[in-house]
């Protein structure tokens, strides 16, 4: 059977779509209005749901400001920020020490929200799993191959562990989630997980053993785990909550097994505070080191920050708008944290609020 498409029809659809596009564009430009300050941000896709909750509320309280946020990924966000394509960036990792030194005194950083990486699993007949960094490191090295390994039995007395091979699921794309997870493995089990294996994209030793599976994005990892019995993996807390995945209790630096929750995440941030910078102008490059595997019996050990990155100098209108945005994010904003994230503790908010005084026209 031949499919007949009339050429004139096709030719007339093209301009029609173009006209529609132009109309929508013009209408959109008109709606955005004049005399209003427009702030543009980009970066972390992890913080996007939270930003989407903050921005409408902020613009409702400040009708003269328009905020746009583009979730391009942390790395791209930082790039665009330094190229002055955007006014602020949101980034999971803070600036590296080198980058901070290059822009020292002109760049402001602040952690604005907390997230957590949870270890989730698909273990038919087993629940309430307890794990530590060493067991996880050995799994992702392919050296702990069976669920009923003696190490697993020791960690999980009373849990029925089958003699089945463990499928270790990890991210196949480069990701801040992987960075936090591998950093935790390194801090909790430095002998098993060397620094070479820490980063946004790493060479997973388990892959060459045939027991590793990579999937793209939190969604991809979630999907593989849900459809694969006897698998284990790591995802952002919000994905585990959204999909009702079981979450493992993880042994923290004080030897306690802790479930991820707003309280245990905030507790980790509170206990990391002694090592945190005291001014938004300081070097934040080691804040993940302070937060991951933080001390304290109630701290969840695989916790991370998302940072805002700003300049100290803006044109007058923008400076005022950004000052207000910073105040909002660190006050009212912390009261409207969406599911899967945690508000930052009071101590850190107090440091962040100093930034409002540092931004000048």
């Amino acid at each position: 059977m031949e499919l007949r498409i009339s050429l004139p029809l096709l030719a007339s659809i093209g301009p029609l779509i173009f006209a529609l596009w132009v109309t929508v564009g013009v209408a959109g430009a008109a709606a955005s209005g004049r005399g209003r300050v427009s702030i543009l941000g980009s970066g972390s896709s992890f913080i996007y749901p939270q930003m989407s909750a903050w921005i409408p509320e902020f613009t409702r309280m400040n009708p003269d400001v328009v905020v746009n946020y583009n979730p391009t990924g942390s790395g791209t966000g930082q790039k665009q920020f330094f190229a002055h394509l955007v006014d602020f960036a949101a980034s999971d990792p803070p600036l590296t020490r080198d980058a901070w030194l290059r822009h020292r005194g002109r760049v402001i950083q602040m952690p604005v929200v907390l997230g957590a990486v949870v270890v989730t699993y698909n273990l038919p007949g087993g629940e309430g799993l307890r794990l530590d960094g060493r067991a996880l490191a050995l799994m992702y090295k392919g050296r702990l191959r069976y669920w009923d390994d003696p190490l697993m039995r020791e960690l999980n007395p009373g849990v029925e562990l089958p003699h089945r091979e463990i499928v270790a699921v990890h991210r196949s794309d480069s990701s801040g989630t992987t960075n936090v997870f591998t950093f935790f493995l390194h801090k909790a089990a430095p002998d098993e997980w060397p620094t070479d294996l820490v980063g946004k994209s790493v060479e997973w030793p388990v892959d060459s053993k045939g027991n590793g599976v990579g999937a793209k994005g939190n969604q991809g990892v979630t999907q593989v785990i849900m459809s694969t019995p006897y698998s284990i993996g790591y995802v952002e807390l919000s994905y585990a909550l959204e999909n009702g995945l079981p979450m493992a209790k993880i042994r923290n630096a004080d030897g306690q097994f802790v479930l991820p929750s707003q309280e245990s995440i905030r507790e980790a941030a509170r206990n990391s505070f002694p090592l945190m910078p005291r001014s938004p102008l300081d070097d934040y490059s080691l804040d993940l080191d302070a937060l991951v595997y933080a001390p304290g019996g109630k701290s969840y050990p695989i916790t991370s920050f998302v940072h805002l990155i700003l300049w100290t100098r803006y044109e007058p209108g923008k400076a005022e708008a950004l000052r207000r945005f910073i105040r909002f994010v660190n006050t009212e904003g912390q009261g409207m944290i969406v599911r899967g994230y945690a508000p930052i503790p009071e101590e850190i908010r107090a440091v962040n609020l100093k930034a409002a005084g540092l931004i000048k026209p």
Binding site: L3, G75, T76, D173, S175, G199, G212
Partner: protein, 322 residues
């Protein structure tokens, strides 16, 4: 060659003035397409050069994936696993798709009633046009669980002594799953090529075979032998398409840097590697260049495959063409 050139020249000189103008007005468009391709090849070579210069031949013979944001001296790449995976999955796909396409062509063209024949034909045409992500999601959600339960586990249980089935099919995402999904995706293309050649077999040949009292099966064998070059062409075009598929494969191949003879184990392909890593690759020294090097290999393989395929098709047309 000389006569060809002369023919072209006499065509030009005999052309009415209007047609000469028409010819010249078309020339830039044809040239643009060729230029785009040349530029593409040039960019691939230029971009992959830093990686090839740094790692040499080991870029294609070692299985290492050690990215680092700290600096160029910390990184190390070897594309053996994705190259191996690309080869295995596309060969598997073409090998599975070929008998299926051949028998479908014969069934549709010779044995099916007209109404069924039309329905079948349009379904297969439709399959070619489906977005590949749909195949990928279907593969992930439907095919893999089914395959693991009813194909992979029995294969491992009963034929586990063979190296190809020696490993436990754990997640189901594997070379086999990718190969099968690719086979389904390339069937419409292979079917199309074979069908075109099949319909060109002169009626006299068919009548001759049938008048000699050939059975349906014998008839099938004679007809297939008549279109052998088209079958080879279909195979090569299918291989080329399978090697270049990205999204769908990324969902079902397992994305693990693994070189294993076992088809039930997860692996990687060049295209799925690019689909997974390219967005953030610029933050890792040399990673982009390594991916360009991988694409260059794909381009070369693809050019060889479709080149041979086109030559085969031409031969078919020369034998049976009108």
């Amino acid at each position: 060659m000389g006569s060809g050139k002369g023919a072209a020249w006499s065509r030009w000189s005999l052309m009415p003035k209007v047609d000469r103008g028409f010819f010249l007005s078309l020339l830039p468009f044809a040239a643009v397409i060729f230029a785009v391709f040349a530029l593409l090849a040039y960019v691939l070579v230029e971009e992959s050069w830093p990686a090839i210069a740094r790692f040499g031949i080991s870029l294609f013979t070692e299985n290492v994936w050690r990215p680092s944001e700290r600096g160029v001296e910390f990184v190390r790449y070897g594309l053996l696993a994705p190259l191996y995976g690309t080869l295995i999955t596309s060969v598997l796909a073409a090998a599975l798709a070929l008998p299926l396409s051949l028998s479908t062509v014969f069934f549709i063209e010779e044995m099916a009633p007209r109404r069924i024949r039309d329905a079948f034909s349009s379904i297969i045409d439709l399959m070619a046009g489906l977005p590949t992500i749909i195949y990928g999601l279907w593969g992930l959600e439907v095919m893999i669980p089914f395959l693991r339960r009813w194909v992979m586990e029995p294969l491992h249980l009963h034929l586990g002594f063979l190296p190809t089935f020696s490993c436990d099919p754990m997640s189901g995402a594997s070379f086999l799953a990718a190969g099968l999904l690719l086979a389904i995706m390339i069937i419409p293309y292979m079917h199309g090529v074979i069908k075109e050649a099949y319909r060109q077999i002169p009626r006299t040949y068919r009548e001759a075979a049938l008048s000699l009292g050939a059975t349906r099966y014998e008839y099938f064998r004679i007809m297939t032998s008549l279109i052998r070059p088209a079958v080879v062409a279909a195979l090569l075009l299918g291989l080329g398409r399978a090697a270049s598929e990205t999204v769908a494969v990324a969902l079902v191949v397992g994305n693990a840097f693994n070189v294993s003879p076992c088809l039930l184990a997860p692996g990687y392909t060049i295209s799925s590697l690019i689909a997974n890593q390219f967005t953030e690759a610029s933050f890792f020294p040399l990673m982009e260049n390594v991916m360009f090097a991988g694409s260059l290999v794909l381009l070369i393989i693809g050019m060889v495959f479709s080149g041979v395929g086109v030559i085969m098709m031409r031969r078919v047309r020369r034998i049976y063409g009108r």
